[in-house]
């Protein structure tokens, strides 16, 4: 018995010791800013280090410490760092991550604290990391979509590779012809129904965000379109689940006629599937009624826990500024989120390579770009409720109308929730 007590005492004492040992902060003589990026090392070491050097020269007394992290772990590491009181000052996040942290009240409200930067960026992109009434991030680099197609497959199907489809109707026809003539799938969309709704100009909710409103005829027609494609085996049965990566794999294997994707993936195709790269050509992504296109965006956020958040925001604005972004875009097929940088002739010229054609086409749509992630409260639950219904319609278990009505009813319940 006594031994047991002793053990318990030892354990308790140890817990106490660790609880009492307080972590000390480091005294900063100069303003030291920690800057985290996602997967840019080692390819862009010179570029990032160059920006940092310039900034430090222009701002004496500021020291930037750069760390690059893989995308899968950045929120985990950020959580640990914030909990440990050693939060970084400027962090690269995608919009989804930024909004989920904003929901936890852990980011600086850029829109409120630094409204002067608003006009530098495209409006649709500045508004991306919106949560309730705040804007929680500086937009950084962005990619809009282009359509890539395999010329060899087009020829085999008796289509003219020089005149690619430019509307959704034409894409549908092409896909049907490719399937009929070659047996290969002509098209495999990356299904994101929220993005579809946004691109169609269908309002997701009422102004006050208390009611869902997306069961409109346009939305029903879009879902019907998917249902017909599935029913007639024009798109693979795995379309809904395989997503982006699945479609890209299939395209790289030379087993898919057309794919909608970001221009930055061209270099991946070039490295991994040179034969397919040689046959690839680019066409614009068709605009729908809403005259907007969903565009995945990278952001820079400033955690509230940053000890120098004001300095940090200044640096973030510099990294996402015109000059720095333009230089970045010249290194890789991405697009800037700032208006002035996008006006550079670099984005309207081509040198004949498909990379430059893709860049030109994508850049011409930048003014239509908006983030297509849900930024409503309970966004994960809302997304689930919609996905279940979209899936049911995809597999023909429900009519598109039934599915969307049901989804709206589910949304209304969630939107009313108070927690």
């Amino acid at each position: 018995m006594r031994g047991r007590l002793k053990l318990a005492a030892v354990l308790a004492a140890m817990c106490l010791v660790f609880a009492l040992m307080a972590g000390g902060g480091e005294a900063a003589r100069e303003t030291r800013l920690e800057f985290w990026t996602i997967s840019l090392q080692p390819m862009f070491n010179d570029y990032i280090n160059g920006i940092i050097k310039d900034y430090e020269k222009a701002n004496p007394g500021v020291k930037i410490v750069w760390k690059d992290l893989p995308i899968g772990v950045i929120t985990t590491k950020l959580t640990a760092a914030i909990a440990g009181g050693i939060a970084p000052d400027v962090v690269n996040l995608n919009t989804g991550m930024a909004v989920s942290l904003a929901e936890r009240r852990s980011l600086v409200n850029i829109g409120k604290e630094f409204p002067q930067y608003k006009d530098v960026y495209f409006e649709g992109l500045w508004n991306s990391a919106r949560f309730e009434d705040g804007i929680y991030a500086f937009p950084w680099y962005v990619v809009t979509h282009v359509m890539m197609y395999n010329k060899a497959i087009f020829e085999k199907a008796g289509l003219d590779p020089a005149s690619p489809p430019i509307t959704w109707e034409e894409i549908t026809e092409c896909a049907k012809q490719i399937k009929a003539k070659t047996g290969l799938y002509g098209f495999m969309p990356h299904v994101n129904f929220v993005a579809d709704l946004i691109e169609l100009g269908v309002p997701l909710t009422s102004e006050d965000k208390t009611r869902a409103t997306f069961n409109t005829p346009d939305a029903v027609a879009k879902l019907q379109w998917y249902q017909d494609l599935m029913k007639n085996d024009i798109i693979p049965r795995e379309t809904l689940q395989a997503g982006y990566a699945g479609a890209l794999d299939r395209y790289q294997a030379g087993q898919l006629g057309m794919i909608v994707t970001g221009p930055q993936f061209i270099s991946r195709i070039k490295t991994n599937a040179p034969d397919v790269y040689k046959n690839t050509m680019i066409a614009p992504y068709p605009l729908s009624k809403g005259k907007v296109v969903g565009a995945p965006l990278m952001n820079l956020v400033v955690p509230k826990a940053s000890k120098n958040w004001s300095e940090a925001a200044k640096f973030a604005a510099h990294v996402t500024g015109d000059e720095a972004q333009l230089a970045f875009c010249k290194l890789v097929t991405i697009l800037p989120s700032t208006k002035k940088a996008a006006e550079d002739p670099f984005f309207t010229q081509t040198d004949g390579t498909i990379e430059s054609i893709a860049r030109k086409i994508a850049a011409s749509q930048l003014k239509h770009a908006v983030e297509s992630d849900l930024t409503l409260r309970h966004s994960l639950d809302l997304l689930d409720a919609l996905t279940v219904q979209v899936e049911a319609a995809f597999y023909g278990e429900k009519t598109p109308k039934e599915a969307l009505d049901q989804a709206v009813a589910e949304w209304n319940k969630i939107l009313q929730r108070k927690d």
Binding site: G3, M14, C15, T79, S100, R104, E238, Q241, Q255
Partner: protein, 319 residues
């Protein structure tokens, strides 16, 4: 295999139920000295585990009664996290998938025993084969994901082989259909597990006296008797031990699911551990995640009751 390296593995839990309490409580000087010695041996392990294992677990048991997001102050919520779990459809789904995952256990154990029997002989090159069978165990999760995703790709080698052999007409969507995704991930678990359990069973088989084996090899009639009266009883505790770990591993499965499907498509492979991870590091809902973890622990105990029973009946001598 991150921090939880130890979780894939375990000793025999059964000892808890079976270890005898000290019989006499008369204190003598030598006895006390022996106690001190015992604790001296245990000290490094206990200190390290107190700090890095027990303390987080105890904290976990505290935060399951709180609303804890790391970023905001903790708030006591009583049993709210548990009542939430009981009403949470996704959690129900994840429980169902984790329970379905137990299907892996019998298949994996039988395969592992067969493989262990296969390599339990001295033949030229047997070391090579044992190493080959152990490769999946030492393969990092990242490499497993890369290679198996390719294998399972709709244009991948598995579909290619099956269509070439005429077994299927069109490619199957291994990881991208609701019906096949979970079984496909289970296959990976089995692939990874065979080498591991093979080593355990090999250890068991090696404890069969060599003389008996030799005798059995000469005389066909006695072979069966050796298997029946020596090998099987000797193997029994190993089987129970492996089953216990395997059941636990199935209910806690995380790595394979997380890297191959992330719980999808459409949540068809969402398991408890994956759901718990998403709640913790996706939604920063550490209180709820801790509550889910506790329910998971309870389920592991419930599902291992038959194993414990059998241990108490049969394997007692060995454990």
């Amino acid at each position: 295999m991150a921090l939880g390296a130890a979780s894939a593995t375990s000793g025999s839990a059964s000892r808890v139920t079976l270890a005898r309490p000290p019989r006499k409580r008369r204190l003598s000087h030598t006895q006390v000295r022996r106690w001190v010695t015992a604790y001296a041996f245990l000290l490094p392990a206990l200190v390290l585990m107190a700090v890095f294992t027990f303390y987080p677990i105890i904290m976990g048991m505290v935060i399951m009664f709180y609303d804890y997001t790391v970023f905001e102050p903790m708030e006591f919520v009583g049993f709210a996290n548990f009542s939430r779990a009981f009403a949470d459809q996704d959690f129900h789904k994840s429980v169902l998938h984790s329970v379905e995952y137990i299907v892996v256990v019998p298949v994996l154990q039988i395969l592992s025993i067969l493989v262990a029997v296969l390599v339990n002989r001295s033949l030229p090159g047997i070391t090579f084969f044992r190493t080959a069978y152990y490769i999946p165990v030492v393969t990092s999760t990242v490499a497993v994901a890369i290679s198996w995703k390719w294998l399972y790709n709709s244009n991948g080698i598995l579909n290619y082989a099956l269509t070439s052999l005429g077994l299927i007409e069109r490619p199957l969507y291994w990881l991208t259909s609701k019906e096949l995704a979970l079984p496909s991930v289970m296959m990976v678990t089995m692939w990874k597990g065979i080498g591991w359990y093979m080593v355990i069973y090999l250890a068991g088989l090696q404890s069969v006296p060599k003389e008996l084996e030799e005798a059995a090899a000469i005389d066909g009639a006695s072979r069966w008797r050796v298997i029946r009266h020596v090998t099987i009883p000797l193997l029994k505790p190993y089987v129970l031990f492996a089953t216990f770990m395997s059941v636990m591993g199935a209910l806690q499965v995380f790595d394979e699911v997380f890297v191959m499907t992330g719980g999808g498509p459409l949540k068809s492979t969402l398991t408890m551990a994956v759901y718990q991870y998403y709640k913790a590091f996706g939604a920063f809902d550490f209180g709820y995640a801790a509550a889910i973890g506790m329910l998971m622990a309870l389920m592991i105990l419930v599902f291992n009751i038959p194993v414990f029973r059998m241990l108490a009946k049969g394997g007692l001598k060995y454990y």
